[in-house]
Symmetry: C2
Subunit: 220 residues, 2 copies
Amino acid sequence: MIQQTARHGRERVHRASSDPTRERIVAAAIDLFSERSFEGASTRELAARAGVAQPLLNYHFRSKDDLWRAAVDQLFAEMTQALDVRTAEVVADGDVAGAKAVIREFICFSARRPQLHRMITQESKADGPRMDYLVDRHVRPVYERTAQIMGTLVKAGAVPDIPVEHLYYIITGAGPTMFVHGPECRRLTSLDPTDDAVIQAHADAVCLLLFGPHVTTTTK
Amino acid sequence: MIQQTARHGRERVHRASSDPTRERIVAAAIDLFSERSFEGASTRELAARAGVAQPLLNYHFRSKDDLWRAAVDQLFAEMTQALDVRTAEVVADGDVAGAKAVIREFICFSARRPQLHRMITQESKADGPRMDYLVDRHVRPVYERTAQIMGTLVKAGAVPDIPVEHLYYIITGAGPTMFVHGPECRRLTSLDPTDDAVIQAHADAVCLLLFGPHVTTTTK
DNA sequence: AGATTGTTTTATCAATTGATCAGACTCTTG
DNA sequence: CAAGAGTCTGATCAATTGATAAAACAATCT
């Protein structure tokens, strides 16, 4: 029984990751999985959006689930990359200004890539194998680092005294929702959630609520 | 050609709405549609959860879409009923305390019925016939009333000066997200998002951020 | 050139999907 | 009791689903 030459899991880690076709498929998966759900995105539509034939997905990925995981991995890699630079400075603790910057960066990232929060929201509503993967592999580390940052801010008095668990869901809710609901927002309001001015205004608004008016040189 | 006796749209508005079977189907639809997506919930699983045979869904509802709309209608009816009592007093405007109470009630409702926000989030991510129905029929009126209340609060100085569009997405994000992500929250934290103490604590937290520390008898 | 390995497509699979139809089961009403 | 309208179920439909098989295409090396 001759095994077909399907590499399926990147057996050959060539050099770095640069397979343009595979990347186009993952990009299409990110878009489709996030706006339809996992079940709502058919492999044929996935392939059509990537501009390839449908069976090619099963050549590059073991299964539809495998492709979904690749999409999630990609999105979290992007977020980690966007935040790690900032968080590195903060981990030590005490750096309130840095912590603020991280939160602001988080909001801006969620505006640029609402797909990540769309996929998280989809799977966080009910237990299942995909939520296992999402939480165990990706969300919990993010939660723990976020909680640590929140603790720093609360301890420093930079933020109202709210348990970090609630702060986590307040920030992950108040920040990305406008962008996750982008198409709805466009219909409901006159704002364009992809407009940078709107994004900045939203970050300002969330930070104003969290940190209060930005008085830099007022002492009592 | 003899038309089958399927009433499909409640031709016979008997007295009030009290069809136990139909209600059980809608209840099952609310749960399944909200935790899986529209495509992710099969009519067979829907029927199984309602304890009926699958073709019965097409007897009581014209189509799967029709059932979905009935589920959405039901959820919005519940929210309207939960909030209307409060909002009635506020509409006049100026009633800041009343407006606060409405927001608090909104958060508590989203904790009791996270299914509503789960279904909204699912359809707000991309245009389509279901988003048309949701926005045109239900969400826009809610948005407009909410924006009005926000305007009241901002004008009264009870809330930081943030454009109402942003306030809307901050509140609809910060309030329900912990409960929409209920199962995830249970894994991530040690909190039970169905526990009333947790719900109250979350409402407290959101209100603290919005309205500041609750000083009832301090005059400058 | 020919051979080999890796990539992509066309054709097809069984399984599941939403929906329909005809018939069985209730009921009430005559 | 018989009639008939209203409710519900089993059998089945065409269409779509994710996945596989086999063959066509492309590229590199000898």
